[in-house]
Symmetry: C2
Subunit: 677 residues, 2 copies
């Protein structure tokens, strides 16, 4: 960008810019896989949880499985319908956080944000734990090493995201579409066999399930209801991730909102069909599935089964359906594992994006807000990975136990978001006069109200059934993030107050007294002297801290020879201190002329390698730090680039063009690729 | 110091300064304990090593013990006499490093420096290991936990030195004089008993020592010579630390050199009497002492002794001599332990001092050279402690095994230093015409030549007898430090060459184009604008990076209201990047006017708490880093001190008055105390 091109006050949203941005946007067929992996992957563990919960009352309770499935599908439909309203009303991609903040205030927004932060951690932990289970189903050698495998997977994801993975549409499209094909194909093949009456049994069909102590049939109505509520709330894990599209509207092709709404609908239909297929098939094929801690409750001929390895529901179905075609089994299990890892990766994408939105609003360190702050991004990624590893290790990579922590956060944000949407429509209805628009708004409000009522019920159910089982951990973590964000916000607000300009701030300094620090008479010093002279200060002098008689004499001689016309002041430092004499001198100048400014010019040489940094400029660095605390002083670094600084410049440029997690979701992939060329 | 006081070109060495400096200097009675703890403490382990080595050939070889003692005493006398010449010739405190560098060149100097660096580590390891042994002699509960105790002691010393211990004369004087009194008192009491014929036996007198395999009597002449050589070289551990005074001459009261030489003589006399007393008493009291790994070689009635705990030689003597007066025993053992810890502390003092000298000559990172660089000091202290701990753990805190590594380095520097002194006198004799002075120089050269011949023999003996036993580790470590220092020097030399000023460097920039970064219109920005305006650049504009339409519009409005008269340029950044647009813009300005300078003003607010630093200025920091790599740009930080910055300023001031390790030895204690008041 040349100077000439940069006209004063270029406003945002010029045609050229927007068009350039358009090129990077996603068509629906790509957007679906990019945003769907999280939501779809939950079909890999949600049905399992339903069967585990029902199985507490023995195998006969499995009769309720498809009813639970339908209940979950209903909630999902309501939530999807609600989010279709959100993407129209809030196309900016702020998602639940924006909806809650705008309509319900900052407290609600911060609550949603803390729920989302916790959920990102849990998405990684749950998806990777489940993925490790599938890997163990395909490769028996991994059995018993799921924790290690899960930890390694998280570390690999972390490393990839720190390094910057170049995500592309196909990166998501291939495995996601393969996953749909594999699961729906398996289901279709299974239903065909069912229609022929030749549907095989799964491996666990031959077992019986002993009810948990105290759950022997017949259950009281309350006990039964509670059991169904637990199964239902676990099944609601299938809803995690459907909100992703509402955060990604800006990445869609135009018309953005319409395309996003359509994609959301497609996502809902696919997710529901996959989930229902798996549940129905599992039931029909006689699946018996219990908590991995309760394997002894599986019996054969009245005696506990010995040495049985329980595989995930989809793995069991695939093994039976594709009994004569093992590649089919391996395809299903492999793509399921891959899609789970992909789902975990979405958390690595979403975490920094959320961080940057929070930073913009002052709830997170501001450095997170600017793209390209590698350090901030890296810290976020490492933090996410470490928290996920802690959870995986603490819960032995057992999906069942992690699920107990998972759904609370999701439904907290669902609820606040729906409530916010209702407020949104109510507010707009007050001013809107066009009857057609009003009708649409009324309808939207009804849809959101239905959504809210569903998600509110689920949240209550989840809280009741899961609080003691682990949800309390989530709530504690949410409270922690909430308080942290509020604290950061309060700090920024206080600083802003302290910094607010008032009328007294227009006085100009009367006088600039420039001092150039001289350590040797080499190129950097000469450059600093030249720059200082060019700025024409009211007073200009070189300042040298003398710690050695001979060196001082030599420097004075050189100085006189050079005949720069600038006086050199020698500060005496018998104790070999460098920094204190300079700070004292600057303070003294300032004190003698309080309306003036002291400009301290520091010649620096810029090197490129990390170990060179250790050998140079350490004193300059500390001096700058000290001078910043001295009122009335400005610190001027005059850099002199050594040859090796090229290395660092090239490294920085590489860094700038590097992909950041979440870029694709914000429509950045193409542009970055162009830069790299 | 007011501006008025700071006249131009104050030269060094003014009366006032020198007088102030004089107040902090050490009289001989204080200088002796300050510099002697290292040398005197070796009496706590050197005799033990002599007895261990002789004992390899059985108890009969102990007959040689006092002859070995006399040989060591002779070498020590020669070395002390030599160093008395050094303190006269080199009163600046550079010590062996300076002598070797000036007279033998940089390679010799660097060799001495690497030997000293390695020896500092070994001083800590040996002294603390021996100290742990004495502690175990006094407190039986510590037996078997010497390694842990030694590691803890090193960590405590490290923490104290990181924190800054206020050393004073009495800090050293009390324990050192107590140590002299205790050891010499014990010896006097022992000799009195001997004169009365009532000298008791030590606890190990009743044992016999089985010779090591292959060392059965009678030995061949060569085997005997080799045995005596090994005993002698181990005994030379008594010489470690005598060079300390030659590094501390500047801290002595005037006449510095004469006082230092006298103190050196006193040190030598005391050390020799202590060592000889211990050796003679041990021999007379029937001591049997073997390598702790060889305890089975101690026999009673022809059978190996069971369950015997071997205590250090001084501990055994003290227990027997003070058999009827146990406080005497505890006093001896306690002050011996204390003096050993004090000796280790001298290494913590000497290490950073040597580092700063090396830094001044370009052999170490330059930041080490300026006092008050806490980070550099801290790194050195932590490094020293960690290396010592590695050695202690690797050698199980066994003094005997650590001694094998110890003496090489000391004698390498002794040798190079004596050789350097001979060159020194030869050089001066070429020009000196005064016969009296020439005679003194001749004498000095003879003394140094005798010293060299003694230390050369010892070095050869040490290398032959100890190379395989561990000295190779020391030599490897010395080679590592040597190469590292040469590498650092080469780097600095290359940079100096690249930076050397030539005649082309006088051109002044023609034009200063100032840009003030604007993020908000708050006090820091207004101050930066005012400062920039006061510097009267040829062109001045505010620059704002726009990432949000609404915010931009608001800022533009405020800007117009303020009516600063400065144009505001808005840079468009659709991808929320802050740094790249600014760097690009600065580059573009510079390109359009290559003879000009771009002055980038960055408003910064200065906060005081570490967590506040995380929340602020991160982008400014990165931007500064990037701009430094951009040619023709100078970066101006305009700080705005928030209230909390007071905290950091106070912390910095506390930091400045903190004591650094080695201050006392450089004559700084009093002054620091004055500042603290």
């Amino acid at each position: 960008m040349g100077v000439a091109d940069v006209s004063k006050r270029i406003l945002l949203g010029r045609k050229l810019r927007s068009a350039q941005l358009g090129e990077t946007l996603l068509p629906k067929r790509i957007a679906l896989p990019v945003f769907a992996s999280d939501a779809l992957s939950s079909v890999a563990y949600a049905p399992d949880e339903v069967f585990i919960m029902l199985g507490l009352a023995g195998a006969s309770a499995y009769a309720f499985s498809w009813k639970i499935g339908i209940a979950v599908a209903l909630v999902m439909s309501a939530v999807i319908a609600s989010y279709r309203q959100t993407v129209h009303a809030y196309p900016s991609g702020g998602g639940d956080y924006e909806v809650a903040t705008v309509n319900l205030g900052q407290t609600a927004g911060t609550t949603v944000a803390s729920a989302l932060l916790v959920d990102y951690v849990l998405t990684v932990a749950v998806s990777i734990s489940s993925g490790a289970q599938y890997a163990a189903a395909a490769i028996p050698a991994l059995l018993g090493h799921e924790v290690l495998l899960a930890v390694v997977l998280v570390l690999v994801l972390m490393a990839m995201n720190l390094r910057g993975i170049r995500e592309s549409g196909s990166f998501f499209a291939v495995p996601t579409y393969l996953f749909m094909v594999a699961i729906l194909g398996m289901a279709a093949w299974g239903f065909l066999q069912m229609a022929h009456g030749s549907l095989p049994d799964v491996e666990s069909a031959k077992f019986d399930v002993v009810p948990k102590d105290g759950m022997e049939q017949p259950l009281t109505t309350i006990a039964l209801l509670f059991l169904l509520a637990r199964a239902f709330s676990s099944g609601c894990a299938a809803l995690t991730g459907v909100e992703a599209i509402s955060n990604g509207v800006p990445a869609f092709r135009r018309p953005k909102s319409r395309n996003a709404a359509t994609t959301l609908l497609m996502l809902g239909l696919i997710a529901i069909s996959m989930m229902m297929s798996v549940i129905v098939l599992a039931r029909q094929m006689g699946l018996k599935y219990v908590d991995p801690h309760d394997l002894h409750r599986l019996t054969a001929g009245g005696r506990p089964v010995e040495g049985y390895q329980q595989h995930a529901v989809i793995a069991q179905i695939a093994r039976a359906v594709f009994a004569d075609f093992s590649p089919g089994f391996y395809l299903v299990v492999t793509v399921t594992g891959v899609i789970l890892v992909l789902a975990a990766n979405t958390a690595f994408n979403g975490f920094p994006v959320l961080g940057s939105i929070l930073a913009k609003d002052g709830y997170a360190p501001r450095a997170l807000g600017s793209r390209g702050d590698r350090l901030a991004y890296s810290n976020g990624i490492v933090f996410l990975a470490l928290m996920a590893i802690v959870l995986i290790v603490a819960f032995h990579a057992e999906t069942t136990r992690l699920i107990q922590l998972y759904i609370v956060g999701v439904f907290v944000s669902f609820n606040l978001s729906q409530l916010g949407m209702i407020r949104h429509w109510t507010r707009h209805l007050k001013t809107e006069r066009d009857p057609a628009v009003r009708r649409r708004m009324f309808n939207s409000r009804i849809i959101n109200a239905i959504g809210l009522s569903f998600t509110a019920v689920v949240l209550v159910v989840v809280l009741i059934t899961k609080f003691l089982a682990g949800a309390w951990i989530t709530i504690l973590a949410m409270a922690f993030f909430f308080l942290l964000m509020r604290g950061i916000k309060r700090h920024y607000d206080n600083v802003a107050l302290e910094l607010a300009a008032d009328e007294g701030d227009k006085a100009l300094p009367t006088r600039v007294h420039a001092i150039v620090l001289v350590s040797k008479l080499h190129k950097p010093t000469l450059r600093a002297l030249a720059f200082a002279k060019a700025s024409r200060p009211n007073a200009l002098e070189g300042v040298y801290v003398s710690v050695d008689v001979a060196e001082t004499a030599q420097l004075l001689e050189e100085w006189d020879q050079r005949n720069t016309g600038i006086p050199l002041k020698v500060l005496h430092s018998p104790y070999r201190e460098i920094i204190k004499p300079i700070v004292d001198y600057a303070t003294a100048i300032r004190r003698s002329n309080p309306r003036g400014v002291v400009a301290v010019y520091i010649p620096e040489y810029v090197v490129g390698r990390w170990w060179e940094q250790l050998l140079h400029n350490q004193t300059a660095l500390r001096l700058k730090g000290r001078l910043l605390f001295t009122p009335g002083v400005m610190v001027i670094s005059v850099p002199y680039q050594l040859r090796s600084s090229q290395i660092a410049r090239q490294r920085e440029e590489r860094e700038e063009t590097r992909v950041r997690p979440g870029d694709l979701r914000r429509g950045r992939a193409e542009r970055d690729r162009q830069i790299q060329r």
